[in-house]
């Protein structure tokens, strides 16, 4: 590894590694992919992979987690996007090909992609 010869280089290295360790820190954004048997059968694994790739390519800090079946199996793969202070939006039938637009609209432009939405949870309420 190259020697760090200035404070700037140290900070640059720090920022780079912080990105790698983002899963261990709070990001304010969580994307939740339905990964029940129904979700996996509908292609949730591929959707999740696409999300991870898209986030990396666009350098977006967000946690990606999985949940089990919530009963809406016909609309799998289900993808929820939860951002601090905003309602949690559930999107249905999200295939890998739809991911770039979803990320671009929701996370970058801040627009909910209404035609794909299947549900919405108010901010201060938890889902159980």
């Amino acid at each position: 590894m190259p020697k760090i010869t200035s404070v700037e280089e140290l900070r640059k290295l720090r920022e780079k590694v912080q990105e790698e360790m983002a899963t261990r820190t709070e990001t304010g954004t969580t994307i939740i992919v339905g990964m029940g048997t129904c979700g996996i059968a509908a292609g949730a694994r591929e959707t999740m992979r696409a999300i991870l790739e898209e986030l990396k390519a666009r350098n977006i800090e967000a946690h990606v987690t999985t949940v089990g079946c919530i009963g809406m199996c016909a609309r799998e793969p289900l993808v929820d996007i939860e951002q601090a202070g905003k309602p949690r939006i559930t999107y249905g039938n999200i295939t890998a090909a739809m991911v770039p637009r979803l990320i671009e609209e929701h996370l970058i432009k801040g627009n909910v992609v209404t035609e794909w939405v299947v549900g919405r949870l108010p901010t201060d309420q938890e889902t159980h």
Binding site: K3, R14, M21, T23, V67
Partner: protein, 623 residues
């Protein structure tokens, strides 16, 4: 093969505690299982240092959710992978269960053991991979070093450490900044920085946990110290019994050198600093600074009279700054966040946090870091979860074998360097042993004295002879042969040792007995005047007898007795022949009816020979 993009980090504890409960095997199975189900490109396995909750090990924390699993076995791994990592569901049976209410606490942040803790010194332990310097840097590591080297003069660094009020975490509580100043001002071109990692108290493992879980915090602190005092070489004196700590330290030093954070021209400045590890052979006395320095020099680990203090004449006769692992581990954060930030934690006279290795009869044993000024009650009952098996709290020993004990009345004492010393206990390096009503305080102080006496280096007479004589007198008391004069003599010897010993080992050896006599004198006196051990622990003073009203004649005790001194038959009340009894306690343990009882200083009427169950009438009590 796709490029890995990790969405989850599985942190598995690789500290010595969890390694011995099998965490390495868990990690191995986990990696294989992730590979098998095709998650190895999404889920990363990270080996971390200790999280302190060693009683529940092996410990696993899954991020981003912060799911906390404990006592994970290799056979649990497939379920974790399938349920949690693939489907995002919590495996309830592996979740920490609150023993009082039996409620499951799945998330790390909600576990009561951690709730009252404040992790400053241990902030990275269990969070980062100690074998990757990059993760330390990502958590702000080496930022303080950069700040010190590029924006502060050595004097300013010393002023900052002084202003923080940091007191030496080795136990004595001397102001760290002042110590640095002495070394900095001592005349001489060549100076040294030494880290005392010779943690020798039985049951104490906070220094080891820092070295294993966050070695760079110590290294960074030492480099900053070197810059402040004008030293270019440092030694970490670590006992050879800590192989994992030494391995990770070596790796950390190598990585820091490769990045140019250690060695020549650190961070492109003209400051150079080298670090070496000296492995100690594990003599307790080498934790004393002059003995430690002698040991680094290759001489016998024996203390010498001070002054001259090491700050003036230390390693190889040169001015040397010697601090404990925990002291150095606090430095980087003080420099990075400022003295004011540190001074706000804890109490005004003892700022910062205290780390205790909490052991003994508490529900949650492990490593705890709490702000100074917290009460012992909070540590033992809130963090530690209270006394095991609903027994009664009796005493807590702080400061290890040279510390002292405090009774129930001391539970509301606010813990800091000064309050503990006033109460007759000490902060020491942070061992904390909790005992319940079943512990005999004479026996308890004898245990510590046995350790301290064995570890006496023998150089000075008060320690070498005094300790041994005191141990003989204590043994006499536990054997029921002691007299009140013996207690007086113990106190006389204690005074002699405290005043006449060369180093802290001899001076503090009487500590546990002193405090036990201060708070539990009646227990010592019961041993000598009534030949009674109130806790029923001293073998010479107890008897096992079978309660004739409870015995059902089942014969379990008779069959279990290794010396066959229990007489009886089916449906007959059993009787122990006291003359041949070796007091092993086996009958006491096997009796399903609690008919075997321990007595000390009292008698319960029993028949002379076995008689049928239900026919016993105590004749003696009639008279």
């Amino acid at each position: 093969m796709t490029e890995p993009i990790y969405r989850a980090d599985v942190l598995v504890c690789g500290g010595t505690g969890c390694v011995s409960s099998g965490s390495l095997k868990v990690m191995e199975v986990l990696r294989a299982e992730l590979e098998r189900v095709g998650l190895s490109q999404e889920v990363r396995v990270v080996e971390t240092g200790c999280r302190g909750f060693c009683a529940q090990g092996p410990i696993m924390v899954i991020y981003p959710d912060g799911i906390f699993y404990c006592q994970v076995k290799p056979e649990d791994v497939p379920v974790i992978v399938e349920e949690t990592l693939l489907k995002g569901r919590i495996v309830q049976r592996l979740v920490y269960s609150e023993p009082e209410s039996h409620t499951n606490v799945p998330l790390y942040e909600n576990i009561p053991f951690y709730e009252k803790q404040q992790r400053v010194t241990l902030r990275n332990c269990g969070i980062i991979d100690p074998e990757r310097i990059e993760e330390y840097i990502a958590r702000g590591g080496y930022e303080a070093l950069a700040k010190a080297l590029t924006t502060m003069t050595p004097e300013q660094v010393i002023e900052e450490v002084k202003a923080s009020g940091l007191r030496g975490r080795g136990g004595a509580g001397f102001l760290t900044g002042l110590k640095w100043e002495f070394t900095a001002k001592a005349p001489g071109d060549v100076k040294y920085v030494v880290c005392n990692a010779d943690e020798g108290d039985p049951g104490a493992f906070m220094d080891r946990s820092i070295l294993e879980g966050d070695p760079h915090s110590v290294i960074e602190g030492m480099i900053i110290c070197g810059y402040a005092v004008g030293a270019h070489e440092g030694y970490i004196y670590c006992r050879a019994e800590y192989p994992l700590a030494i391995k990770r330290l070596k790796l950390a030093i190598q990585q820091a050198e490769e990045y140019g954070l250690l060695g020549e021209n650190i961070l492109g400045t003209d400051f150079s600093f080298r670090l070496k590890i000296k492995e100690g052979a594990g003599a307790f006395v080498c934790g004393e600074e002059t003995a430690l320095i002698a040991s680094i020099e290759g001489r016998r680990g024996e203390p010498r009279p001070r002054p001259p203090f090491p700050a003036v004449q230390g390693l190889w006769g040169k001015p040397t700054n010697n601090n404990n692992v925990k002291s150095y581990a606090n430095i980087a954060q003080i420099i990075a966040n400022g003295a004011e930030w540190f001074a706000k934690i804890g109490t005004p006279r003892s700022p910062g946090t205290a780390i205790f290795a909490l052991t003994g009869k508490v529900r949650h044993t492990g490593l705890v870091e709490v702000p100074m000024g917290i009460t012992l009650r909070e540590i033992i009952f809130d963090v530690g979860g209270g006394i095991l098996n609903n027994k009664r709290f009796k005493a807590v020993q702080t400061g290890g074998p040279l510390g002292g004990c405090l009774p129930e009345s001391g539970l509301d004492l606010k813990v800091d360097f000064d309050s503990l010393r006033q109460a007759g206990a000490v902060m020491g390096s942070g061992g904390m042993i909790v005992v319940d009503e079943d512990t005999c305080m004479v026996e308890f102080s004898k245990y510590f004295l046995t350790f301290a006496t064995a570890e006496s280096c023998g150089k000075c007479v008060p320690c070498r002879v005094g300790g041994r004589r005191m141990l003989e007198l204590l043994t006499k008391i536990t054997n029921g042969e002691g007299t009140l004069e013996d207690i007086a003599k113990i106190e006389e010897i204690a005074t002699g040792m405290e005043n006449g010993s060369l180093c802290a080992l001899g001076q503090l050896t009487p500590g546990p007995i002193r405090s036990a006599l201060r708070y539990f004198r009646e227990e010592f006196e019961a041993h000598v005047t009534e030949h009674r051990c109130p806790a029923k622990q001293c073998t010479a003073l107890i008897q096992y007898v079978i309660d004739p009203n409870k015995c059902t004649g089942c014969g379990r005790c008779r069959r279990a007795c290794p010396v066959q001194v229990i007489a009886g038959d089916r449906r007959m009340i059993h009787v122990i022949n006291q003359a041949g009894c070796i007091k092993c306690g086996t009958c006491y343990e096997v009796c399903p009816f609690d008919a075997v009882v321990k007595v000390s200083g009292e008698t319960i009427p029993v028949p002379e020979a076995p008689i049928p169950v239900g026919t016993f009438k105590p004749v003696e009590t009639q008279a």
